[in-house]
């Protein structure tokens, strides 16, 4: 059952071969047994999940189910879910039981009828690439428990990789869906900015943040995205577009597909074993009828510097709301109001979050705004223009997701800059607001390697098609980590 696709699970539910409650219990049992070691979940609430499963069974029995009704899902703990502890991986929200649902939660639970299994671990406020900045301890990579699962959606990635959930939600500000998907042998999609509502998704960098699906296949991602996406009046940057069936074009042949290979993604700085797997995937695509064309993203080397101005600037503003007054943590001892703020924030935030707030406060401060913030925004434009020029010559851009496979726990934790460079291939996509995916494409010394696919605006359906056809020709995405029966 745990290797079945969402479509197969839906068929089993519709054919009454299993109930949602039985399926939910199966996963809850696995979580109870395996999560203490993996640490993929911060919160599980079996009774709440079982109640949702019973409701889904009633809905199915009444013939009112949708394509995903009764299927369990793990929710990244960045999404506010009414009645659930919603921590965002931080001590600051360590006691925050959300009084409302994020739009993504409402759509998945109430509209689609999925059953939430729990809230997954993540880097604190989604700031990190290894899951080591979580207040609730690091997540272990199911493929090698001495290694990181990636971040910031590392708990969601580890949960799906360890078969503690069939699918999960994630969010991606600079690579936080794609990089953990790559490191855990999953398929993950960051949609075009504005496709998935940000309402109730705790904000990190508002002009970059975007939610998306994490699963074992492109087909599963398409089905989950169908349930997550859509216009939402409660998100001021949600895009009002006609609803789309992201699974509609999955089977389309790839004949004549033009794959753009940015020369900047195939130079130095990438692990040779990762590059070998990516090259093998390109050869597979050629067999499937695709043609390759060299393209250039000449400003891509500036994406990490520009991101580490823009994202911290937005974060310093967004995280000013955590002041110990309306919700979350408040320092136990303080004097004046100012002292209360300073102590609450000193004790409630971890080191990486503080660093980013400080960078943001500095680059936005008087006298530095033009040199840093405006300059970064101008470079952001150059990066977006590079993509626009490249898409004149190709349909999908392809390259590695991460320059290396999963690294050891603790290996990069002491050096923020080394950690930031984990996202060197993913960040430009967020700056431009484009959709991007990572799909499994092989192994390097026993560790999964991810292939990144980047599409033009609103090309999610095309990306999923390109990923799905590859997954029909290859078996990499079907591999499961050992020792987690």
């Amino acid at each position: 059952m745990i290797e079945k696709s969402l479509k197969e699970l839906a068929q089993a539910l519709a054919g009454k071969r299993i109930s949602s409650l039985e399926l939910t219990d199966l996963y809850l049992e696995r979580i109870a047994r395996l999560n203490p070691d993996i640490n993929a979940f911060i919160t599980v609430d079996p009774e709440k999940s079982r109640a949702a499963a019973r409701a889904a069974d009633a809905r199915l029995a009444a013939g009112q189910g949708g394509p995903l009704t009764g299927i369990p899902v793990a929710q990244k703990d960045i999404f506010c879910a009414e009645g659930w502890l919603t921590t965002c991986g931080s001590k600051m929200l360590g006691n925050f039981v959300s009084p409302y649902d994020a739009t993504v939660i409402r759509k998945l639970e109430q509209e689609a009828g999925l059953v939430s299994l729990g809230k997954t671990n993540m880097d604190e406020f989604a700031m990190g690439s290894s899951n080591e900045t979580s207040y609730f301890g690091p997540v272990k990579n199911p493929w090698d428990r001495s290694r990181v699962p990636g971040g910031s959606s590392g708990g969601s990635a580890a949960a799906v990789a360890a078969r503690l959930a069939p699918v999960a939600t994630g969010t991606d500000t600079g690579g936080s869906i794609r990089q953990p998907a790559a490191l855990c042998n999953l398929t993950g999609l960051k949609p075009t900015y504005g496709v998935v509502s940000r309402y109730g998704m705790i904000a990190f960098a508002s002009s970059l943040d975007q939610g998306g699906p994490m699963a074992r296949s492109a087909e599963d991602c398409a089905l989950l995205l169908n349930a997550m996406a859509g216009f939402d009046a409660q998100d001021s940057t949600s895009l009002d577009r006609p609803a789309e069936d992201y699974a509609a074009d999955l089977e389309k042949p790839l004949d004549g597909l033009r794959l753009g290979l940015p020369k900047e993604f195939f130079g130095e700085g990438c692990d040779p074993a990762v590059m070998a797997a990516v090259r093998a995937a390109i050869a597979e695509y050629e067999k499937l009828g695709a043609k390759t064309v060299e393209v250039s993203l000449p400003n891509s080397h500036l994406s990490v510097p520009a991101y580490y101005v823009i994202a911290p600037a937005e974060a310093s503003s967004n995280l000013s709301r955590f002041d110990g007054v309306r919700y979350g943590y408040r320092a136990p001892d303080y004097g004046s109001l100012d002292d209360m703020y300073c102590k609450t924030r000193a004790q409630g935030f971890g080191a990486e979050v503080k660093r980013r707030i400080l960078i943001g406060a500095y680059v936005l401060s008087h006298g530095y705004y033009d040199a840093y913030y405006l300059q970064a925004q101008r470079i952001r434009r150059l990066i977006a223009d590079d993509f626009a020029a490249a898409f004149k010559h190709c349909d999908v851009i392809l390259g590695p997701t991460s320059p290396s496979p999963a690294f050891k726990l603790g290996e990069r934790a002491a050096d923020p800059v080394q950690m930031y460079l984990s996202d060197i291939y993913t960040i430009a996509v967020n700056l431009a607001g484009l959709p991007g995916m990572s799909i499994p494409c092989g192994f390097a010394a026993g560790l999964p390697v991810g292939l990144q696919l980047i599409g033009d605006y609103f090309a999610e359906g095309r990306l999923l098609n390109v990923a799905h056809r590859y997954q029909q020709a290859t078996e990499w995405h079907r591999r499961a980590p050992e020792g987690l029966a």
Binding site: G324, V325, R326, Y327, G328, L337, M340, A376, Q377, A432
Partner: protein, 95 residues
């Protein structure tokens, strides 16, 4: 560029985060490493390039000025550190 300890303390205060002298020293090292990375931007000539604040070139949506939310004060204040009579309590600011 590199930040002095004094500047670290100043921005920490701007951000309302208390930083001890020991922490300031470690933070200074980390921040300067990050600024070294950011510095790569400064060599780029961006004259005439329009700053890009947002991924989508759309203007802010407006909605009719109508009441759309119900009163959920009790639910929202249930998660507050300290409230009294529907008010959030903070240390005294006016003597």
């Amino acid at each position: 560029m590199s930040l002095t300890l004094e500047q670290v303390q100043r921005i920490a205060h701007l951000a309302r985060i208390e930083v001890s002298a020991d922490e300031a020293q470690v933070t200074q090292g980390h921040l300067n490493g990050i600024f070294q990375l950011i510095e790569a931007m400064q060599a780029v000539d961006t004259r005439g390039v329009e700053p890009m604040a947002h991924a989508q070139d759309v203007s802010q949506r407006l909605r009719p000025d109508e009441v759309s939310e119900t009163d959920r004060r009790a639910a929202f204040q249930a998660v507050a550190p300290e409230t009294e009579a529907g008010l959030y309590l903070v240390p005294k600011v006016i003597e």
